[in-house]
Symmetry: C2
Subunit: 238 residues, 2 copies
């Protein structure tokens, strides 16, 4: 969990997955002081559960109340810290809406086949999922503005944050599932290269070794996260 420390709030627990990572990148980008606390998913502490009954991560504790859902947290940080820059959404209403449309695209069209690609034990289903991943990413990357490395050109935004964790971690599917960044297309290759070099991303990642065990469970389809279970059951990722 992340606790913005501006209000000198007592620090609760924290943890993170790829989606949790988004909130962390947003805090770093905006330079909002915060405390980072791991949450043991198998033994959640009473304070954490008291303010966050579903026990979901990422979570932010703010004035003693908890919020969850990575993208909701990112929008919350924009709303609650309006003087902190950079702003992660464009000020123009049409461009803001475009950002939201393409973030929604990531949720609906990239995440489900990404998890299917990781978890599927069947070669044919892996091939199908990989093609869906390619299509989702190339469609997204074609919407990128020219004139800079990010979705809105020079301006780093919530669209970049929404996809950044999978740019940085795509080596997993490269090593195990035949994915190649360049096969998505030139636009995605250049964008993903830029995302993994972004300071806020580099600063919040861990060593590859840390993830080997976690991803191993996904690759053997033994993971017990909510996302893994939903993927296995053919359901929407919660």
């Amino acid at each position: 969990m992340f606790t913005p420390t501006l209000g000198h709030i007592p620090a609760p627990q924290a943890s993170w997955s790829e989606r949790a990572w988004r909130s962390w990148i947003a805090l770093e980008e905006k330079k909002i002081p915060y405390q980072y606390k791991e949450v043991n998913p198998y033994k959640k502490e009473p304070h954490f559960l008291a303010i966050n009954p579903k026990g979901l991560v990422p979570a932010v504790e703010f004035n003693g109340k908890a919020l969850y859902e990575s993208l909701v947290i990112c929008e919350f940080l924009e709303d609650a810290y309006p003087s902190y820059t950079p702003h992660l959404l464009p000020s123009d209403p049409y461009e803001r809406a475009r950002a939201r449309i393409w973030i929604d695209h990531i949720t609906k069209f990239f995440l489900p086949p990404f998890f299917r690609l990781l978890q599927s034990q069947d070669k044919e289903k892996q091939d199908e999922a990989r093609q869906e991943v390619y299509k989702a990413l190339s469609t997204l990357a074609k919407q990128k503005k020219e004139g800079g490395p990010y979705f809105f050109g020079e301006d780093f935004s919530l669209v970049d944050i929404a996809i950044a964790p999978w740019a940085e971690r795509d080596y997993i599917i490269t090593e195990h599932r035949g994915y190649k960044r360049e096969e998505v297309g030139k636009e995605w290759k250049e964008w993903a290269d830029a995302l993994e070099k972004r300071d806020s991303v580099k600063k919040t990642t861990s060593n590859k070794e840390y993830y080997t065990e976690i991803y191993g469970r996904y690759l053997r389809d033994e993971a017990q996260s909510e996302a893994a279970k939903a993927t296995r059951a053919g359901r929407a990722i919660p």
Copy 2:
């Protein structure tokens, strides 16, 4: 498609489903002048496809550019018409985030079982889906504030708009799938009763006869909408 007429923009095509209906309710709530145009899903006109290449509805044309995704459009109307009231999201950042969390809950936990309940031809699967619908709605309704009929008490908001179409249309699953509003619980019953009486909802609905044919295709699992196809394939609803 909806065209806010403030800019005297030429009128394009329009159409609507339950989700499209949300954008329409938002326009009515905020009293934003607009033109409503049906889109023939089997014969989309060139102007519509030129500004909206995916051909998705609902769509809003604004200054010659199109936006789609019902909830993105609602947020866009807030951003683009800041002086139009009522505001559909609370001004407090924490409450705004709560609105977004519960809208996300509707998308993830109510819509998929709703479509499964409609489309499933198997009694056991229908029972399972109906229980999921009950759980999603009762969890949502328990978050409703006291002191008024809507999610935020007296204040009608985007959370109400996000679920309103299914409050008004739940007679379909009552007539065909054994759903009863009161079995969800008292909170939902009262809330749904209030939603279907809201002026903006009543003004934008059509006669039941109009829907009989459309829902008939869902109830026989013959519908060919993107949502119906995704539900049949066990995929996330696009």
